[in-house]
Assembly symmetry: D2
Homo-oligomer: 258 residues x 4
Amino acid sequence: MNSNEKLEIDINCDMGEAFGRYQLAEDPAIFNYITSCNIACGFHAGDPVVMERTLLLAKDADVAVGAHPSYPDLQGFGRRYMKIKSSDLKSMIKYQVAALAGMASSIGINLSHVKPHGALYNSAADSLAESHTIIEALVELGNNVPLMGLSCSAMETAAAEVGYPFIREAFADRRYTDLGRLVSRSHPDAVIEDPNAAADQVFNIIKSKRVRTLEGKTIALLAQSICVHGDHPKILDVLKAIDDMLTLQKIKKQTWAH
Amino acid sequence: MNSNEKLEIDINCDMGEAFGRYQLAEDPAIFNYITSCNIACGFHAGDPVVMERTLLLAKDADVAVGAHPSYPDLQGFGRRYMKIKSSDLKSMIKYQVAALAGMASSIGINLSHVKPHGALYNSAADSLAESHTIIEALVELGNNVPLMGLSCSAMETAAAEVGYPFIREAFADRRYTDLGRLVSRSHPDAVIEDPNAAADQVFNIIKSKRVRTLEGKTIALLAQSICVHGDHPKILDVLKAIDDMLTLQKIKKQTWAH
Amino acid sequence: MNSNEKLEIDINCDMGEAFGRYQLAEDPAIFNYITSCNIACGFHAGDPVVMERTLLLAKDADVAVGAHPSYPDLQGFGRRYMKIKSSDLKSMIKYQVAALAGMASSIGINLSHVKPHGALYNSAADSLAESHTIIEALVELGNNVPLMGLSCSAMETAAAEVGYPFIREAFADRRYTDLGRLVSRSHPDAVIEDPNAAADQVFNIIKSKRVRTLEGKTIALLAQSICVHGDHPKILDVLKAIDDMLTLQKIKKQTWAH
Amino acid sequence: MNSNEKLEIDINCDMGEAFGRYQLAEDPAIFNYITSCNIACGFHAGDPVVMERTLLLAKDADVAVGAHPSYPDLQGFGRRYMKIKSSDLKSMIKYQVAALAGMASSIGINLSHVKPHGALYNSAADSLAESHTIIEALVELGNNVPLMGLSCSAMETAAAEVGYPFIREAFADRRYTDLGRLVSRSHPDAVIEDPNAAADQVFNIIKSKRVRTLEGKTIALLAQSICVHGDHPKILDVLKAIDDMLTLQKIKKQTWAH
């Protein structure tokens, strides 16, 4: 690393994943620590009322807003793989992103990015075809709103192939495999529970552009945005630990879109 | 009527009311006869795939596109009254209109109007409060997209109260009460089955700004757009009869938005 | 009251109102204090996975199981009035009750009662027609499973008119109007927050068959089952206070169906 | 074949696949030609109103009734593969079958069988694990209601492994591969359009227990029930052609469950 390089990082979190009477543990306080959020669009979570409320929270906190489209599966929270025809999936993504973009625009917010959710995210990370479908939806919607996705995944490759803007995302609270994929949640060590360990991982990703895998190897990992999971059992502690580390290291926290 | 007045009228029809595998009898040929359509937005009908397909048909036929939002009730086709909190209803309308507007924009179409569907339409026709909720949703979305609704209803009054653009709609194939409301579908004579009788009613509405009620009275009725129901058993014959009448009477058929 | 009368009461609570990833605050500990539960059937809450899990909890706790059918409105948690055709509503109730009954039967549980949920409960409490629709659904399903509903409401009258078994329900934690209806949740004093005050109300209902209204009047109120709301902010304290009162007063807590 | 063998066959068809206002082309006349039907349970089609109406039609026509459970995917008509946790899928099947069984019982009908729908059918045909999940759901529901599924598939194997009753199904109007699977609908020759050719295939399956594959090979195929698709463009002609063949060949048409 060039010691004169000015370091900065975006911290993002999935928000607005309530539905009707159902509230997730999601603390509005999270907005005080993040620079970007990804708002559910009604297909895995987030009815219109929740979306509007979350947009207002994001605006108050001056946090950049991304759309968080999903497979159509409320019962499964968008976490179940669904085999959907490419042209149908494209229409579904356009619908969700357009709905959130229009609601955001109505309170003066422009979408800063689009980040696929859950099973769609994981499926696209390994599928060039599905990644291209997502990008085609965004191209058709216009405005060149960047795609945010797993660093070094098929999403990044697909975006590069067509020259679409892409934001490389890495994870603060999840372990990586040697191949640069997230360790599956079914593994007991998939999640980094300790806030300081999460902050350390973020530091390594930013400073050395490397991450230590679960198997103990060190691999390259570029990231413009760090995702922290809103349902982490110690979410506010994780966010504070990251904040303290960033301050100490003189790394600026700000949305990639500044 | 001033004999030199240049007469013109918009003919609209609800379209895109299919869902998944389910297709309604809706003949794509209808697009050849209408100047505006109202496209379902996913809450009573019309999933994203259907919406995209319908938008393309409208574009090919050079027909103006309106959004057709509804209560959230796919099982009831939006025809069941639902008591929904005003602020929730506002968010639902914003969501639906934004979704369709964004998808329309992606193929170069600007929304020409918004027309509430089914039970929401009927409820708003008699409720100033609900009409104002709908209009507030449109105001917040911006762009001043006109509201289309029942001529002389609470929707028209509410729009006038806040100076919001409003398109007066009348019906070709439905009988009116002395109060200017539609005769309920439960009445055996609610629908005008005969295509020529429907064309006659349209003629009277345009030329004399009057309509003959079921009870036999003649009442005033202003209209900028005429709705024909896509599920009328003789829909194409009704559209042809209206077309012939318009040609004979030298009334120009064109979208109000020209 | 005859001093030799053996007193007993059923304590019921709505359970199984989670959905997919969404869990309500519902403490499984509640099962230790109640004698009956009402399990959501998928229309306002409670997908098949939640239903099965809740049935197993009820079985382990030896708590009687009732079905808790609703209007079809997941987004509104069944709390929004919907105008539904009588024959359609009957089919919906049959579907929900049959689904829960069959799942219950698969683990050796027979349904002990059916209690309508939310807006359906409130609407039926004031509508003989809707109450008769609900009862017809139960008659058609067979097995004579009792209807549980608001004491002295249209549900009770309708059941009496056709001789259908009915369980009178009263509320521990809600204030009553002089007409024997629940004070609307929009009123600041609708809910009895204090656990001891709730226990007192239960005592009065059981011992003197009377309740003191919000306005200060004392009205007659018969009850075979007392409902406690699972989402009361101090739910376990309310249940404990009732338990202590019942023990002190030598009132036996047991399901009406023993 | 023993020439004294008394031949008989069940003819089944998927029914009740409407939803709300949406009706499929499904001709009620189909009931006059079939001996069993498979009724949708609300997850891919068939709301409670449609289910009740279809049950009454089946009763009037004296046609055996099976449940037709699906993945939860109304928008995709249950034709999209969904990766669902085994225990969740089991609960979903129990819910659907219980709902239909209870509604059927309310009009005096006992379920004769259960046949998975669409993507669930195809997935289970190749997955022993998924087939066992389905069978476990049926075992837990009790009553030993037979599973109907593709002859010689994983469903048949799984049923044999646990001794669960199984009905072998073959198809009148679909071509087979050399492996005894259905030729995918994406192949131009997947469907047998000609009614007489369909009747011939049925004849061969019944008489010689063989079918000619698309590739021209002759393979063994045992069947107790023949499925005809209700959405075949010439459905009534196919049913008539089969009827004529059965009469000519003195093969008795009756439900396997007689």
